[in-house]
């Protein structure tokens, strides 16, 4: 009995991975064949990008500030508080900026995509769209995924800048250190691989949060309760995948740029 259950669960997992892969691939390739709904891209870019700006700015400033506080406390033991700027900027740009922004935006937008599309599925609006001769993958899914990718890229830059600025505020106002030194250290020790790491990651994270949110939404079953379930699954899966993929990308990029470091 237990083996049968295990077998069924394993099959379901393999089937879900297969379905998700096909779904994500189809959404990706839709960009190369007309019709392309540019107005939908712009609308989603506004919802995802402009709509998430406030939470990204706030979380960026707070994270940079916390980094400055924590690092100054530790670095002062070695008499190295002067490198606070370098520590904050590298941590924000290489790691925390992309990951935090990815998780914050997935919390807001993967859930919103899953619930919006899920509601459309259970009220037959998706079927109605197909019946009216419009492909919901092209009209609803592809614009959401590519808007997520584009907007997460820019939101990550905003988050990085806010984090460095927040660290600077804490350094000057609370740690009473020199601001010029903080910002010059933050800038001077940045290398090309750091920038590449920080800007490549959001492209993958945007794809993950957009495709996961849409996948769970489009596969919603079980009425309004199912919509709630899809929303939770979308946020949890997107967040976990972002952290896992971050590990993989970091490892790959560190290997690729090992000569630069």
């Amino acid at each position: 009995m237990a083996i049968k259950r295990l077998d069924r669960t394993a099959r379901q997992i393999v089937y879900a991975v297969q379905e998700y892969s096909l779904f994500a691939w189809r959404a990706l390739t839709n960009l190369y064949r007309p019709p392309i709904y540019w107005s939908e891209f712009l609308m989603q870019a506004d919802i995802i990008g402009v709509g998430s700006l406030s939470i990204v700015i706030l979380s960026g400033i707070s994270t940079g500030g916390v980094l400055a506080l924590q690092s100054a406390a530790t670095l002062s033991a070695f008499g190295a508080t002067a490198v606070t700027g370098q520590f904050v900027s590298l941590t924000m740009i290489r790691e925390l900026g992309p990951v935090l922004t990815g998780i914050m935006v997935s919390g807001r937008n993967a859930s919103s995509m899953a619930s919006e599309l899920g509601s459309m599925v259970v009220t037959e609006q998706i079927d109605a769209m197909r019946a009216l001769g419009v492909d919901p993958m092209r009209k609803l899914v592809t614009p959401r995924i590519f808007s997520s990718i584009a907007m997460l890229f820019f939101l990550t830059i905003v988050s990085d800048a806010c984090g460095i600025f927040g660290g600077g505020l804490v350094t000057v106002l609370m740690n009473h250190q020199n601001g010029t030194q903080y910002f010059s250290m933050a800038w001077e020790h940045l290398r090309f691989p750091d920038i590449v790491q920080g800007l490549v990651k959001p492209l993958f994270f945007g794809y993950i949060l957009g495709s996961i949110g849409c996948y769970y939404g489009m596969n919603t079953t079980g009425g309004t309760q199912g919509v709630g379930r899809s929303t939770i699954q979308a946020v949890v899966t997107a967040s976990v995948l972002i952290i896992f993929v971050d590990f993989l990308i970091t490892q790959i990029l560190l290997t690729l740029f090992s000569g630069w470091m």
Binding site: E124, Q125, A128, A131, D135
Partner: protein, 282 residues
């Protein structure tokens, strides 16, 4: 009530016009969802200018059958032909142009709640991008006038009643002059007055535009009204056919336990010896 002796066939053209193939044809169609088949070995067709009424108890697979017609669901076995093309395994991309030639009215209307009535009704035209805004407005007003809801042009679906939503859905289904109409329980859960209004619209569409259609319902009174009435363009209303005649282009199908147990005219339905048909009619 013995209604069988009340009706006779009206002298109207036969649906099986020579030289014209069926608009829809099912051949031994079977479909299942994790369990026993929902529909099994279903074979029937819808001829040009024919209106078919699909009867059956709730949950018997009537809506599934409608979705199979336009490829929203795919059969596990058998073939579905729409406008002469086998769509059983047709890629989704190739299905969209065929679906655009049909009009489907969903059970609860399935209006897009983030769009106004105007944008809902004009959805197909807007997506096609071939019609100017002024023409779209004119055609939307004409479609809304047809269903008697011109005043809802700028409203949103959440401010409409259930009956109004169904009528807007009918307007949306009609705007692109479909070659086939599919009604999924258009009167389900509505009060008798609203139901009659909607049946009148269906009769009007049948008699004025001669569009072939398939209507799913489990309400006998609606099915019989469709069969025994015609649309009088002079009075602009639905009136009973003279001398108890019935529309010969309006025929019946009945599903039970996944099988098609009846396919014929109202007269044949009323004289059927099938125990389930008799029980259903009573």
């Amino acid at each position: 009530m013995d209604v069988s002796s009340t009706f006779s066939q009206a002298a109207l053209p036969s649906p099986d016009l020579p030289g014209s193939g069926p608009v829809v044809a099912f051949h031994n169609v079977t479909i299942a969802f994790e369990g026993p088949p929902v529909l099994e070995n279903i074979t029937f067709s819808v001829a040009p200018v024919e209106t078919r009424i699909l009867l059956g108890p709730a949950g018997v697979g009537k809506s599934v059958l409608l979705k199979l017609i336009i490829g929203l669901l795919r059969p596990d076995a058998g073939s579905v032909t729409l406008f002469g093309q086998d769509i059983s395994s047709m890629p989704e991309e190739k299905l969209f142009p065929l679906r655009a030639r049909t009009g489907m009215i969903f059970q609860e209307g399935a209006l897009f709640d983030s769009l106004s009535v105007r944008d809902n009704v004009a959805y197909q035209l807007i997506q096609q991008g071939k019609v100017t805004d002024a023409d779209i407005d004119a055609r939307v007003r004409e479609a809304l006038r047809f269903v008697g809801l011109e005043e809802t042009f700028s409203l949103f679906p959440d401010s409409l009643s259930g009956g109004m939503r169904r009528r807007v859905a009918i307007a949306r289904g009609l705007i692109n002059d479909p070659e086939l109409l599919l009604y999924d329980s258009p009167t389900g859960g509505l009060d008798p007055v609203t139901s009659t209004n909607i049946i009148e619209l269906i009769v009007k569409q049948r008699d004025v535009n001669r569009t072939p259609s398939l209507m799913v319902t489990h309400r006998l009174q609606d099915a019989f009204a469709l069969c025994t009435h015609h649309y009088d363009t002079e009075c602009g209303c639905m009136v009973p056919l003279a001398n108890g005649e019935v529309d010969p282009n309006t025929t019946f199908l009945m599903l039970n336990e996944g099988r098609l147990i009846f396919d014929g005219t109202l007269h044949q339905l009323l004289h059927s010896e099938d125990p389930f048909v008799r029980e259903f009619l009573q």
